[in-house]
């Protein structure tokens, strides 16, 4: 049964794409959660839709044989421009940044629907980009996915210490002379690339879930940044591959299955995690230090007794 699935060329391409998305989306998502920009992926996803339609329009204008040959490159370009714009607006002032994100949400969808109509398609053509169509992944798509994933991973993992510093305490990073502005742009561009990579697997509307939900799962079980990222990647790969496998046997939407699976994992882990942490042996959280005041003898004795209790 499994061999049957693994020898199916469509399924092979889909599995590779799912595997790559499962790793890259949580890596980028970790930085977005760290910077409290969990919804950035959604904003970029909406803008990418306009890019898809724009690529379609250009492709149709050039008389290409397949209408959507330029859809993915169009999405990449629009997503990168959109994410950089969001970062520029965010830098200029927080209040207008929120507003700009909202305008991008609406403008992205409206622009996409409008342009696809002009290109001679219908909004139905956009559905596969909105909700994913991993079974239609072509060889060319797969290669683009592989290359973009490697770029995202190289940056996200290779620069993790600098990106952590800039996301954790931006002011300290500035006072350390780090190129914080450039690092922020890098995060924005990498997010845009991830959105377009994940577009075929889970669709633009659910991309953000794949970036954020595995991180939310990881946070339940670890309190370190590095381990959060690693755990989130494991969760991402597991839900992507198992979600896709389910859709090989049952006729359900791969993107929706993957996201529902991820949220189910989140629910289960948040129920189980408190039980696991309770069993861990604890050490005395209070340092054994003298107070800033002179204590009477009786209080000193009580302090010694309290210290013994905690040991």
């Amino acid at each position: 049964m499994i061999m049957l699935m693994l020898t199916d060329p469509f399924m092979q391409r889909a599995l590779i794409a799912a595997l790559l998305v499962g790793v890259t989306a949580p890596v980028v998502g970790t930085y977005l959660v760290q910077r409290k920009l969990s919804l950035l992926g959604d904003g970029i996803g909406h803008v990418a839709l306009t890019g898809v339609a724009l690529g379609w329009l250009v492709g149709a204008g050039m008389g290409l044989t397949t209408d959507d040959a330029l859809a993915v490159p169009g999405a990449v370009i629009a997503a990168v421009i959109g994410s950089v714009l969001i970062e520029v607006v965010r830098r200029r002032g927080r209040t207008s940044g929120d507003l700009a994100l909202a305008i991008m949400f609406y403008g992205g969808i409206a622009g996409g629907v409008l342009l696809i109509g002009i290109a001679g398609g219908s909004s139905g053509n956009l559905m596969q980009y909105l909700f994913g169509s991993i079974s239609t992944v072509s060889d060319a798509d797969l290669w683009l996915t592989v290359v973009l994933s490697l770029v995202v991973l190289a940056i996200g993992v290779g620069l993790r210490h600098a990106l952590f510093s800039a996301s954790h305490d931006e002011e300290f990073a500035i006072a350390s002379g780090l190129p914080v502005w450039a690092l922020n742009i890098v995060v924005a561009v990498v997010s845009a690339l991830t959105v377009t990579v994940a577009m075929r697997v889970v669709g633009l509307l659910l991309v953000s879930a794949l970036m954020i939900v595995p991180v939310a799962v990881a946070q339940q079980v670890t309190h370190a940044f590095g381990r959060t990222m690693l755990t989130a990647c494991v969760v991402g790969v597991v839900v992507c591959v198992s979600g896709l496998t389910i859709t090989y046997w049952y006729n359900v939407s791969p993107g929706a299955t993957i996201v529902v699976l991820a949220i189910a994992v989140y629910a289960v882990v948040s129920l189980v995690a408190p039980l696991l942490t309770r069993r861990r042996p604890t050490h005395d959280p209070h340092p054994d230090l003298p107070d800033d005041v002179d204590l009477p003898a009786a209080a000193t004795e009580r302090a010694a007794a309290a210290a013994k209790e905690c040991r």
Binding site: T30, V33, Q34, R35, K36, S38, G158, L159, H161, A162, F164, S165, S167, H168, D169, E171, F172, A173, I174, A175, S176, G177, L178, P179, V215, Q219, H223, A224, F225, G226, T228, P285, L289, P290, D291, D292, V293, D294
Partner: protein
């Protein structure tokens, strides 16, 4: 490094601010500040809440871009597009608030290690774990290296921020109220660490509310009021009306019984002409 170069470096001011103004919207927070810190000095920046102390140090380390005026750090101008010229490996900054951080919990080790990145160094150097450990020993928290920062108390988190600045072994330390909310034993440990570093040639600019444990180290005091320098010289004496019974600052040293010492410690900033 040749001897002649070292000589010229030691003559140069470490921090030099000229005619610094800072406006945030309608409020004019810094109104023409001149400040020079020479190598080896320990300068205390004093002033009431809201006098502009934090805004000034934030401008000096490049977080706030001044509306007018210029800052030179280690001899290099600090301005848009010129930041790369400053040798950031020689500067350590300790911000005021503890508990900085993003949406993901991080360990003490991760936070302190981020102090090893500066300027164009975007990756951790070899042996970074040992350096993080050494920095944490200086603030007495080496045993908490694997704990998440948010599990520590406010005072302990403040000490983590000090370790993050010390880990790169800076020549200039800029501290914004480093001992606010830190218990007396840790303040003494901090003062001892600072004394050792100052003896080794460290230059310090420290924002303080009162001189406290650092008093013997402070070579000069700069007092801000209403965004202007109103005093630059010997550390000012404490206000007499604050030196009453009940306002005596608790101090655990057994030998600390002289009244004039207590006077000096309880500095609450009365600057006399």
């Amino acid at each position: 490094m040749t001897d002649t170069k070292q000589v010229t470096e030691t003559r140069e001011p470490v921090i030099e601010a000229r005619g610094l103004h800072f406006r945030a919207g309608a409020s004019h927070i810094l109104r023409g500040i001149d400040l020079t810190v020479l190598p080896g000095e320990v300068v205390a920046l004093l002033g009431a809440n809201g006098s502009g102390k934090s805004t000034l140090v934030r401008a000096l380390v490049g977080i706030n871009a001044p509306s007018e005026g210029a800052v030179r750090l280690l001899g290099e101008p600090l301005g848009a597009g010129r930041r790369a010229a400053v040798d950031w490996s020689r500067i350590g900054y300790v911000p005021q608030r503890a508990g900085a951080g993003g949406g993901i919990p991080s360990t003490v080790q991760e936070v302190v290690a981020s102090g090893l990145l500066h300027g164009r160094r975007l990756r951790l150097p070899r042996g970074w774990r040992d350096r993080v450990h050494a920095a944490l020993e200086q603030v007495g928290l080496a045993d908490r290296v694997r704990d998440p920062v948010h599990h520590l108390s406010g005072g302990q988190q403040q000490r983590i921020l000090i370790a993050r600045a010390l880990v790169r072994e800076p020549d200039l330390l800029v501290l914004d109220e480093p001992v606010a909310g830190v218990d007396m034993a840790s303040q003494e440990a901090f003062a001892a660490t600072m004394r050792r570093l100052v003896d080794g040639g460290l230059t310090v600019l420290v924002v303080l509310h009162e001189l406290g444990e650092l008093e013997p180290l402070v070579s000069r005091a700069v007092v801000l009021r209403h965004g202007k320098v109103v005093h630059d010289g010997v550390p000012p004496r404490a206000r007499q009306d604050h030196d009453r019974a009940g306002h005596r600052h608790q101090h655990p040293h057994a030998d600390d019984n002289a009244l004039d010492t207590a006077d000096n410690r309880a500095l609450d900033l009365e600057v006399r002409p």
